[in-house]
Subunit: 164 residues, 2 copies
DNA sequence: AAAAGTATCTCACTTTTAGAGATACTTCAA
DNA sequence: TTGAAGTATCTCTAAAAGTGAGATACTTTT
């Protein structure tokens, strides 16, 4: 059971990734651009639009690469930059109708699909599933934070940590 | 609830992806190489070693790019090619001890993490979670198959399908 | 034994990325 | 105020990674 759950988690992630990837390619976007678009959308939905720098951090790419991502998305008309801020260095990123349409084409079918699966579960079961996934996310985040930590500086006796 | 489950699913996928990505970079691999390594490992565990072509299909990259992936992984000593087959065109891919070590460093901590979360759930709850995730995977696969279908050939009256 | 099919690799070209500044703005402290 | 330091984004060049069209070597079919 343990083993099969671990497997299912990874599998679901990969499958979802693959669906997103296929969709993106169908619409002339690469994986990074698609992820960026999703992040920009989520942020704007929360009324906390992303800045270029935040996007860079979330994507895990360099600032240079991120500027290129934004350029590409802006060029094809999915988003626009907004420079009207009290801090005039900042640039926030915003959706255009075209991107809304694209998001609909992606999340619509996917939502229907999820609904169908969910309809086979009781409210209580769904609540368990939800709790489990959120717990996993929290665990991932903690692990991620540990991984991202700058490697311990080369001091006399670094606390014996081995990774091949 | 519905909305938050959809969110949790996507979030878990992204978080997992990010952990994998960070780990890969820490070890001098890019995302594609890491995915390839995982696929090769899984296949070999099942005693059905991947061929180059199968890897290409699973990764969703061109054959040329896949040759490059294999070259990189072989050069640093993670895998080796095997050409001893009845069909002498085929090349199967196999793990080296170095890659086993790397896999251990990745899946070890991740497994521990998952165990910790799972320990907070009853067997029955875990079974529900497992079933749900497998159901989702099946749904994804069906959706993926539909997406991958070659676009309907340009016939007189294509059944009005609009995607921006 | 020729023709067609399959599996992998090679090569030229394009796209994407990293990384190091450059630029423009803000904040802090004297 | 003014200068110094910090921050946010963008620009540039070199390197990495990917595509797509063949080339090569082998197998299967006719």
């Amino acid at each position: 059971m343990r083993r099969s759950i671990v497997n299912a988690i990874r599998g679901m992630g990969l499958d979802g990734q693959r669906v997103a990837d296929t969709f993106a390619h169908r619409h002339g976007l690469n994986n990074t651009d698609m992820r960026a678009l999703t992040l920009i959308m989520e942020a704007e939905m929360r009324h906390e639009p992303l800045t270029a720098g935040q996007l860079s951090a979330k994507l895990g790419t360099s600032t240079g690469a991120t500027t290129a991502v934004i350029d590409r998305l802006e060029r094809v008309g999915h988003i626009h930059r907004n420079r009207d801020h009290s801090d005039r260095r900042k640039v926030t990123l915003h959706f255009e109708p075209l991107a809304m349409q694209l998001a609909g084409a992606y999340f619509g079918p996917l939502g229907a699909l999820t609904d169908e699966v969910m309809s086979r579960y009781s409210t209580q079961e769904l609540s368990t599933v939800h709790r489990f996934m959120e717990d996993m996310r929290a665990a991932y985040s903690a692990h991620q934070a540990a991984l991202s930590e700058p490697e311990p500086p080369a001091s006399p006796a670094p606390p014996e940590q081995h990774a091949p």
